[in-house]
């Protein structure tokens, strides 16, 4: 009998204690970030998709189209096509990542001999089709240059025998 | 226009409602006996009982009417449902009885009905000469506490015994054979 009532009382008390906690938080300020109304700053290490480092000294990227990144990438999602603009220097004519396969491992960034890659801070990537996820790094770089008021790195002309002069259609910049 | 308005006078409403109640009662009763699915039977019973509760209202006793709903719909129907679920295949319709038997049942019920109806018609009902007009719940309580106190207590005893019996019967099943 005593235990019966004791259990009721302690139980009742424990419930009250719980309610005290929730009401305490009820009056506390909220922790929600008002995301779309307020732009978020990502942490410095944040990994969005990869993008070219805009080298402020040269005003362009540092990629030498060595394809190290493409080779190490676990998902083999990087397509690099280089052209030789002069005997010693090779630049990418096309650098496209199919972001929808990426696992954000960072191997490409780390393996790049010229440190030409970095992770972008882009997190708003939703799209209406699979193709929306494909990112053209060169186009992206150009946009970046434009925003910074720098000279835009032109897309190197393909050597004539290779044909196609234009990069593939809608890619996100 | 006028007859329409007269339909929505209190009397008109009451008459219309009465027809609804009667329809509910009879429809419910028919579903309760005729539907093949046992669960529909229970629902029919519930409908019928709500109708009966309505009749009780017309008989001037809202208390009994509400208690009808509380006890029959709220408790008995629920108990029946659980009993059905307890015996898993009960919801499956059984093959109907031989048509002859059904006919027999119909005839039997019809005969009884005719006989009693005749009897009712023949009888003249006489009201008691002095009639009190006290329908209040308090008076019911008063009677329960005074004149019918024995029954009042016996009912509780009856319930206890019935429950004990029911519990024992329901529990001793498979194992105790």
């Amino acid at each position: 009998m005593v235990t019966y009532f004791k259990e009721i009382l302690t139980g009742f008390y424990s419930l009250l204690a719980g309610m005290a906690v929730t009401i305490k938080y009820f009056v506390k300020p909220i922790v929600t970030v008002q995301y779309p109304r307020q732009k978020l700053s990502m942490s410095p290490a944040y990994r969005g998709h990869t993008e070219f480092v805009l080298d402020l000294e040269t005003g362009t990227h540092r990629c030498i189209a060595c394809e190290m990144c493409a080779r190490i990438c676990p998902s083999q999602l990087i397509t690099v096509e280089g052209v030789k603009i002069d005997p010693k220097k090779k630049v990418p004519r096309k650098y496209v990542i199919e972001y929808q396969y990426c696992s954000l491992c960072g191997l490409c960034v780390e393996s790049c001999p010229t440190k030409a890659l970095k992770f972008s801070e882009e997190y708003r990537l939703a799209g209406f089709s699979r193709e929306d996820c494909v990112v053209d790094l060169l186009a992206r770089l150009q946009a970046q240059q434009q925003r910074a008021g720098l000279a835009v790195t032109p897309r190197p002309e393909a050597r004539r025998e290779e044909g196609e002069a234009k990069p593939e259609g809608e890619v996100k910049g | 226009m006028n007859w329409l308005i007269s339909l929505i006078t209190p009397v008109g409403l009451a008459s219309g409602a009465f027809i609804m109640v009667v329809a509910m009662t009879l429809l419910g009763a028919l579903i309760a006996v005729a539907a093949r699915n046992i669960f529909h039977n229970v629902l029919g019973l519930a409908l019928c009982l709500i109708g009966v509760a309505g009749l009780f209202l017309y008989l001037n006793s809202p208390f009994v009417a509400l208690m009808e709903i509380l006890i029959y719909v709220g408790a008995i129907c629920i108990a029946i449902c659980f009993a059905i679920m307890l015996s898993a295949p009960m919801y499956l319709p059984l093959p109907p009885r031989h048509p002859l038997k059904i006919l027999g049942a119909l005839a039997g019920a019809g005969l009884v009905f005719a006989f009693l109806a005749l009897l009712t018609k023949k009888t003249t009902w006489a009201a008691a000469s002095v009639r009190s007009d006290d329908w209040s719940i308090t008076t019911i309580g008063h009677y329960l506490l005074t004149d019918y106190v024995l029954i009042f207590e016996v009912i509780s005893l009856l319930l206890v015994v019935a429950m004990l019996g029911a519990v024992v019967t329901a529990r001793g099943g498979r194992g105790s054979s």
């Binding site: 419930l15 204690a17 938080y25 290490a45 990438c73 960072g106 191997l107 | 059984l94």
Partner: protein, 370 residues
């Protein structure tokens, strides 16, 4: 039409794969008698992504990102296990500072995992609010980890021979702030959850696992510690720099759900202690071994390395044939072993208890299915 005997067919209830409390895509096929379960057969494979198969197609580095996805809740321990196995295979030395960073981040991750478990578990039990509080705390950890690893969930942070990114002062300050914060929060959890009579009633003496059962099924982690066996790889086969820290292995007495819950809660406190000590003792120095070859090409051989994850013992077994690709990687995952006891302890319980028991096992489905 009803025939006698027809109703004797067993009553089978699909529990999952899409069910709010199977945490992903586990399916448990229940045979029931009334409300009671007579047989619970987990059906796994709904989350099978072929992790182990993948290892045979990739070289050592390329397999690394998968480790964060086997058990995404305690991804860093998996990172650690795999890296340590490869380091063992190749004889790479990890600098001390890197080891410390690994310990700090892995322990943070462990707390995050436990917090998520507490929250999700209470969600299973029907309490929504603690879930949000846990997530709130967890977000703080994620912020910290995001700072160093760049991701919130499927970390791919450790590298063979160290870590690629050093921690900064802000991180350390954040860590310390978090430690104080979480310690303060424990009281709220106590009031809200641990002492709550409903919670106690739901978890005491439910899903009891005896010591003998633990051994028989090869349970690890909080499951085995909840039953009173102080088995924790960090103590019993110390790795990394764990021996340098002073921490305890909390154990339960009765082996019921409550004990498992308490073990996890206390483990969080212990992890906080470890982090605190590691922050204090953090040495300076490099974070990457000197000469890490560009291509990992270990000599033929095999190696097994176990680490303690939030769910128990994760073992990474690598067979190398001297190629740049491993010949075979076998992952010994704790959830698989832990889940295996479910059919035994779920029998004769109610569905509600099954939810509680399943939750207390803390399974991560892709980990089971690898």
């Amino acid at each position: 039409m009803h025939e006698p005997g027809q109703e004797e067919k067993t009553y089978v209830l699909n529990f999952g794969p899409q069910h709010p409390s199977t945490h992903g895509v586990l399916r448990v096929e229940l045979q029931m008698e009334g409300e009671f379960i007579t047989k619970a057969a987990p059906d796994i494979g709904y989350g099978h992504r072929g992790h182990e198969h993948m290892a045979e197609n990739r070289n050592y580095q390329q397999f690394l990102p998968n480790m964060g996805r086997v058990d995404y809740l305690h991804a860093l321990a998996y990172n650690q296990g795999y890296c340590m196995a490869v380091e063992k295979l190749t004889g790479l030395e990890v600098p001390e500072r890197a080891e410390f960073i690994r310990v700090i981040t892995a322990e943070l991750n462990r707390i995050a995992s436990h917090l998520l478990w507490v929250g999700a578990y209470l969600l299973d039990l029907g309490a929504f609010t603690p879930f949000l509080y846990c997530f709130d705390d967890r977000e703080n950890i994620l912020d910290l980890l995001d700072r160093v690893t760049g991701s919130r969930l499927t970390y791919c942070y450790y590298r063979f021979g160290g870590v690629p990114k050093d921690i900064d002062d802000e991180f350390m300050a954040g860590c310390r702030a978090f430690i104080t914060r979480l310690r303060g929060r424990f009281k709220d959890y106590d009031d809200l959850v641990t002492k709550n009579i409903i919670f106690i009633k739901r978890t005491r003496d439910i899903g009891v696992i005896s010591k003998e059962q633990c051994v028989r099924y090869g349970l690890t982690g909080p499951m085995v510690r909840g039953s009173g066996i102080p088995y924790d790889i960090r103590k019993s086969e110390p790795y990394s720099v764990y021996p340098r820290f002073d921490f305890e292995i909390p154990i339960g007495e009765r082996g019921d759900i409550m004990d498992r819950y308490l073990v996890r809660i206390r483990e969080m406190a212990q992890s906080l202690r470890i982090i605190e000590q590691a922050l204090d003792k953090l040495p300076d120095g490099p974070i990457m071994a000197e000469k890490v070859p560009k291509r990992i090409k270990p000599a033929a051989g095999e190696v097994y390395q176990a680490v303690e994850t939030a769910r128990g013992e994760f073992g990474c077994y690598i067979v190398s044939e001297g190629d740049i690709k491993p010949y075979r990687i076998k992952l010994r995952v704790p959830s698989f072993g832990n889940l295996s006891i479910l059919p035994e302890i779920a029998v004769d319980t109610l569905v509600a208890d099954l939810v509680a028991i399943l939750g207390s096992i803390d399974v991560v489905v892709p980990e089971i299915d690898r």
